[in-house]
Symmetry: none
Subunit: 220 residues, 2 copies
Amino acid sequence: MRLLIVEDEKRLALSLAKGLTAEGYAVDVVHDGLEGLHRAGEGVYDLVVLDIMLPGMNGYRVCAALRAAGHDVPILMLTAKDGEYDEAEGLDTGADDYLTKPFSYVVLVARIKALLRRRGTGGPSPVISLGAIEIDTAARRVHRDGSEVTLTAKEFAVLEQLATRAGTVVSKAEILEHVWDFAYDGDPNIVEVYISALRRKLGATLIKTVRGAGYRLESR
Amino acid sequence: MRLLIVEDEKRLALSLAKGLTAEGYAVDVVHDGLEGLHRAGEGVYDLVVLDIMLPGMNGYRVCAALRAAGHDVPILMLTAKDGEYDEAEGLDTGADDYLTKPFSYVVLVARIKALLRRRGTGGPSPVISLGAIEIDTAARRVHRDGSEVTLTAKEFAVLEQLATRAGTVVSKAEILEHVWDFAYDGDPNIVEVYISALRRKLGATLIKTVRGAGYRLESR
DNA sequence: CCTCGACGATCAGCAGGCGCATGGGGATCA
DNA sequence: TGATCCCCATGCGCCTGCTGATCGTCGAGG
């Protein structure tokens, strides 16, 4: 699950990025509106946190431009409470939710999860069930034969990526793209390491290797 | 679905055009940067494949000019691997994706499909059914009379190529061009080797030899 | 109807690449 | 400062992909 934060207050941006990374999301940060538009346009993000007051291009215009280009990525807007910009305008341009500064971190995380849940399954069930394995994406917990398995943040992110596309082959490049952030430039071997860890914890049969193509999670 | 190819290497351009036409896209080709800019500016294309080294006007400038004029058509850039031009610069000018020569045809098609999908328009149906044989392109699985047949990456690629054009004759040269790199110049016998392997796994009757012309997959 | 040449099919063997496992070092958090 | 997590590096084994040689088949022409 990969997020983009477009926020020019460096301290706030850093703080959000750290917290969300700890939650298990892959987080990229940009400080400029135009840059934010380009990155969000890549289509690899599952959600965009978008400040309104930005250098380069303000948040409303970024949001409107994304929607005009046909992107339906969930957008959570941030704004200062003091007039000039207001909620209605934000929602008008196509934002999915809206938060007024200052806000508490837990509220932000709750809103993000709500938006992702809304997009993810459409229904109220954030639990993906695959044979003996159950994945609760909201609680970030995994059960095997009823007993809980503890996964690290990255392990969970890789599993989630495979699970949301269960039954189809996901290439190593795609996993890298969605789980790691854009600063990462390392060995694709890292994916194999995490696949290996997941197999050790969840059983060897769950994840199938498709040589030369990627990995596939059986849908049942 | 209409594509524009801006590429001055005539052989490569022709080859791409033929292959993509076979995939079901309508393809136009121009060999000059300025001409490419004009055509792309007409706004009738769903995607532009844009080489960087071009007579008239180089690819970066074409791309930048299109973006400056407000066009958001997806752009896939092509470039030779040897320095001077680099990825970052391409993406900076507003390209959506980027491919280094030499690249394999299947990779190119995958990127094109990914870009088009990102824009909301879906690709063709992933499951191809031919009599007793079923090909699931997303899961990379093939079933014969209901039971799964395991194919290697290359075997699958050859089969996929034949299947997308089921009922028509596909020449050995076309298969070579589409499945192997453009740079590949080995023994064309390799195609026969893979046809042989596919017949062994899927039954001898599925793939018909058209002597002197190529192979044909019966559509049912 | 037979012969011959060209094209296609198949097989075995080899080298290289891909995927997997493992251990260690660096960063981060309590 | 200890524990955990993440990433990198290395080595190894197996499978894949390709080559080259041989065998089979088709079709034309005498």
